[in-house]
Symmetry: C2
Subunit: 795 residues, 2 copies
Amino acid sequence: MKLNQFARLAPDAATQVRELNAIGFATDPTLGLAELAQTNFAKLFPEAYTATTTHQQWANIATDATHTLADLLTPALTRIPRDQFYTAALQLLGFEPITDFPLAAPLRFMTATKLPFVAADIETPADFLAALYLLLTTRTKHLVNYLDALATRGFFKDFQGAAPRYLFFNGKAQNVFDARRVHREVVWIESDLDTDHDGQRDLLEATIFRPAETDAGLKMPVLFTANPYFHGTNDVDWITHEPSTEVAVKTHSHTREEVTYHAPAAPDLPPRPVTGTATEAEQYADENGIYALNDYFLGRGFVTVYSAGVGTRGSDGVRSTGGPSETASAVAVIEWLTGARRAFTNRTDGIAIKAWWSNGKVAMTGKSYLGTLAIAAATSGVKGLKTVIAESAISSWYDYYRENGLVVAPGGFQGEDADVLAVDTYSRQKTTGDFLRMKPTWDKALAAITADQDRVTGDYTAWWDARNYRNHLANITCDVVVTHGLNDWNVKPKNVIALWNGLRDLPIQKKMVLHQGQHVYVNNVLSLDFTDMMNLWLSYELLNVANDAPAVLPNVTVQDNVEPQTWHTYTDFASADAQHPQQVLNLATAFTADRASFADNATRTFHAHHETSDSYELEIVKPNSLYATDRLWLDLPVFDHAVVLEGIPTVHLRLWIDQPTAILSVRLVDVGQAARFGAVAKTLDPTGYPLGYDYKTTSILEFAPAAPTDSKLITFGHANVQNQHNAYENVPVVPGVPFTLDFALQPTHLTLPADRHLALIIHGADMAQTHRPTAITNYHLDLANSTLTLPMRQD
Amino acid sequence: MKLNQFARLAPDAATQVRELNAIGFATDPTLGLAELAQTNFAKLFPEAYTATTTHQQWANIATDATHTLADLLTPALTRIPRDQFYTAALQLLGFEPITDFPLAAPLRFMTATKLPFVAADIETPADFLAALYLLLTTRTKHLVNYLDALATRGFFKDFQGAAPRYLFFNGKAQNVFDARRVHREVVWIESDLDTDHDGQRDLLEATIFRPAETDAGLKMPVLFTANPYFHGTNDVDWITHEPSTEVAVKTHSHTREEVTYHAPAAPDLPPRPVTGTATEAEQYADENGIYALNDYFLGRGFVTVYSAGVGTRGSDGVRSTGGPSETASAVAVIEWLTGARRAFTNRTDGIAIKAWWSNGKVAMTGKSYLGTLAIAAATSGVKGLKTVIAESAISSWYDYYRENGLVVAPGGFQGEDADVLAVDTYSRQKTTGDFLRMKPTWDKALAAITADQDRVTGDYTAWWDARNYRNHLANITCDVVVTHGLNDWNVKPKNVIALWNGLRDLPIQKKMVLHQGQHVYVNNVLSLDFTDMMNLWLSYELLNVANDAPAVLPNVTVQDNVEPQTWHTYTDFASADAQHPQQVLNLATAFTADRASFADNATRTFHAHHETSDSYELEIVKPNSLYATDRLWLDLPVFDHAVVLEGIPTVHLRLWIDQPTAILSVRLVDVGQAARFGAVAKTLDPTGYPLGYDYKTTSILEFAPAAPTDSKLITFGHANVQNQHNAYENVPVVPGVPFTLDFALQPTHLTLPADRHLALIIHGADMAQTHRPTAITNYHLDLANSTLTLPMRQD
């Protein structure tokens, strides 16, 4: 176990003492070591209400094979040997002697586990306070740090008096509010939209979880999650597409101007009249689709707000799968939270309600579609949005459903497209009365999405351009945190890296975490203190805590793919400097291959073997594969040392085919028997991570090596051979006539150990993600005139 | 989906009206239909605080393709067509038109789903109130019934005034208390035991979750779970046994008297002096190992108590794996809850604390070891224990770890034994200071368990007799509910059926639920209203509600193994009457087999194919199996109609072997390709089942057919051929000399469709559960003198 920690501050001794004092520890050095230790060790057992039950607890904590804390903590105490202190401390942190660590050698275990410890035995009150401060900020076996663990056991339960207040320790907001006493409220925010064309501004439902301490006048910042799934999802089997059995020959090449989205003028609709005001909501909110990280912050004095946007249950309008109306929906909520927009207590009576409890500072959170809308909202430059924490987010929907002029499904969802997701999230369907009234409007809007997404050509169009948030990065004024899985083939890594590259030169703070998982959150991954990092970040961004978070947190944190539980930190990702040389490898001379041609009959192979998308993805990258004749396999000899790839590999391919069009797919594979990270993180404890005192829990996970395999996909790319310049211009392909295609694979960061090698697979259709053509296409590569360019990291 | 319901009462109209009125519905018929409907439909949306938001909700509920509740509920209302009422009602119950049911035909869907409805259109206030009452007691899509669902949405949130009180509806306690406002307390109960031989009475820690409403003087009953896992478990890899590679030739036959346990005189130890009294605890409890069913009842006015017993963290003493000291531990807690025993607020100061909030009535709950201790406590006849709800419980530990003179592992845990479980649950290990002080005592106690369990002979001894609760069934005075999986090969069904048979003639109430799962709870299985059944039961047993629960609830409820979501009810299980004829089948004439001999070389086959216990259990029952030569396979021709087996199949086998001892295993198999229930229930919704208002949730499950297989185990049995009379007398076996063995298979209830047939497998060692002998043994069956006796059900 390695408990990496990036969010711990190391303030000077005076600050430490002041902070210890502020949370109730005795700090007066004149008390002497014995009394300081007794007084303060008593506070570490918040469940014990009396001296006797405290003493019982001390007697349970061994300091060596024959003594306990109860033996140590006597008036005779003059010195605490460091080994004894940490033997006890490890038990306080949740580790069991004998099972987890050798009783006699706590420091060896702590070093291996990456836990910090003081330099010498504890001889003075100052020594003790320094050790105590360090211990309180040390991570426990149960993910959270020790002071947070104490808080979830009641350490702060009597903290609040008549005038509620924040408490910060080690630069982070502490769990001093009562997450159980929360107002749940629903309001309707009036937008500028009219997506259902009824001549009325669309009302947007928002759900608020507001700590009761706001009632006493305390203003709180807001964690806002724009979650289209918040009110449930619908069955989409009926609208999920069968992959087409042919690849269309394109007849209309687009110009850049043709594919540039120009927003229509906003409808100028009258606002609803205000007939009265209220400070309390008229409707209680049900709970659904909560993000555990948000819940974690409720007890730390953050209001959490969820809104699902146009076309969801309780709101007006129709879905647009990431269109401008969904950005505007999220922005409208932020505007209400900062006092710049109106909301009502119900849909009809005109009773206005303000977010009177808001301090006007908002952060957006969430993964996937949720994080996507956070990025979208950030590109509006809306005032009050101080930061977004966007996880596994889409930055351009074309990079989710299309690639280089091809229809490409998100991994795991063959046949999904923008219209499918629109149906999935049109939760107005769940309120049948409303659904039936809206049916003609929605049927029409949905039909337009199905037409506009254009599954025939797969080209980039103005419709997709409207869903490319990277067009508007220059508008971003808030600080940005992104996380993404390096093995996320659902929202592929291009989304985050293209975003990162676009943010690089903006005058904002930006942080990126890249992990070895797929399409998942990282807040509950044990080896990373992500929650604490975000506490430091949000305390800085939303509560003005001068904790130097931008400097303390690494710019880029990347999980190693070979060493479990190991996270590297960098100042940037694949920036264009000397440390990131490009290695250009000729496919004929650098690689070995036994042929240069193949006939793509993968669709037949796929059906003949009753393969699924999941099985296909494993099979296509095996050295000995069912698809061996449907692909070229090119081996690159082993490097003579471990190498690190970082950035965007590209291919330059010269080839001819015997058809007027085709799909071209390329996979870069890590080859050699090894136990690599598996597809799914391991659940270490389904309820081990406490989110507050006497409150919810969530799971603790770890990315962990799975059973050994012969190979694993590193990255891949797909292209329509008619899209030789970009995703909107088409070039006719003449059977038998060679042409050249350049395209990028998904970005990667990978350590390749010296005993493994790379292979490049060139094949046709991708059964899991592209159309599945039934015609056999012959591919002939001119390997001598083709290259793979690998971006390397050399520091 | 079939939502079976056994706990709904159908009181007369006057009672219905009275109960509706008591929970706040308007019932005065002079109001007229329109006003009654408007007033009462408004109450069905507890989230809506105002008339406007209520109206918004009505407008969301369709009554047909073009109308909603908002259209219906006008002053002009004179009649509610039944179809419209139930189209709306189904939406209230959580079903979605279009997706779940056709908008125009609600009754057809309700019939298929087993939901009740009224007989005609609603024309009068009385009609409306009858329909409303029925609706409130109808099950929802989310497991709980509709009134319970409303309660979890806040229906009763303002129910309690200054003087807290219970509320009963339809015979069941309602969720009118606040499950979030609970005192968590720890006390130490002084037992009569001294299992660690320190001359002091063992103190037993108990954890109490007490609704705050008790502070106002309300006395509540207690749900007590004796849970040895409550404070965590330990690593047991180091003590788990390797299955022996030889079966011992036994040298010492026991007499009945030799294997009869005689309890030693209880130590007569002085009680601790009382130095003071308290009404509040000195220690807050942490939470661990909570049973969701208990949590469900917190808001209904039941205190829940957990105690882990001797040898667990916080308690004195050592574990005994089901020994008399563990029974006494559970009984001591009940005695404290009923005022008959002393407890203290800490371990040393002598401050006594009473369960002053207890109404003196206790039910025990829990599964597996937890249910086992409920059965154990029941056999003490302790006063105040009104009922036990014992799920998947052991009734004799010999039937858990041994069988007919053989060491037999619980399914899934090859190599486990009583000593392994003792280590597993010795959670004093988790408090290292305490553990180290106790180490010599515990090492000695553990060594004694390892010796006494006797893995050499596998015989029944006085040590096992001390762990056979069926010896004391005559002492039981409380009513008993048991549940068990018909496919539970961990705690095998013999445990529950032998218990049931022993209870049959006792003057107590008893109820049994047999399901198609393995070793699992049934409270969250969607097709059964188990939680409601237990609410009826506990309201009757602990709160004196005259709901006629013993007559309303079926005596025996059995899940069908062919039709999903189908539960049969019976007055008894396999009672000895004419409806349960025994069918005696000669193995030579009734069955077909191609030979009568086999050589058991299964251990070699097992290792050669890198099999696991899990894969073995599937493989051994396949018609074409890796173990084909290690077994006899006897086919019974198809019956010409579906038949139902119910009870205990037995075999009478005449055979000789070529060794002085051997393991004999017999499996009865259901043969024929079919999609049968899988090993694991399907999770329909991981958080779909709400346990209270703004409170925890748990999962909703359903036992569901898995992928088709050619065969499935129905039941099995094992015997040591030296145990020809019983589990303690040994008979020498002479190689080559025939002998006769009679033994029972595990009890079963099974419907065999007309197109499937039975097969009997006779084999040697069972790789998953018995020793794994390396010597090859030859078995020669005298089929003409061997029989299988099948118990049938014919009603």
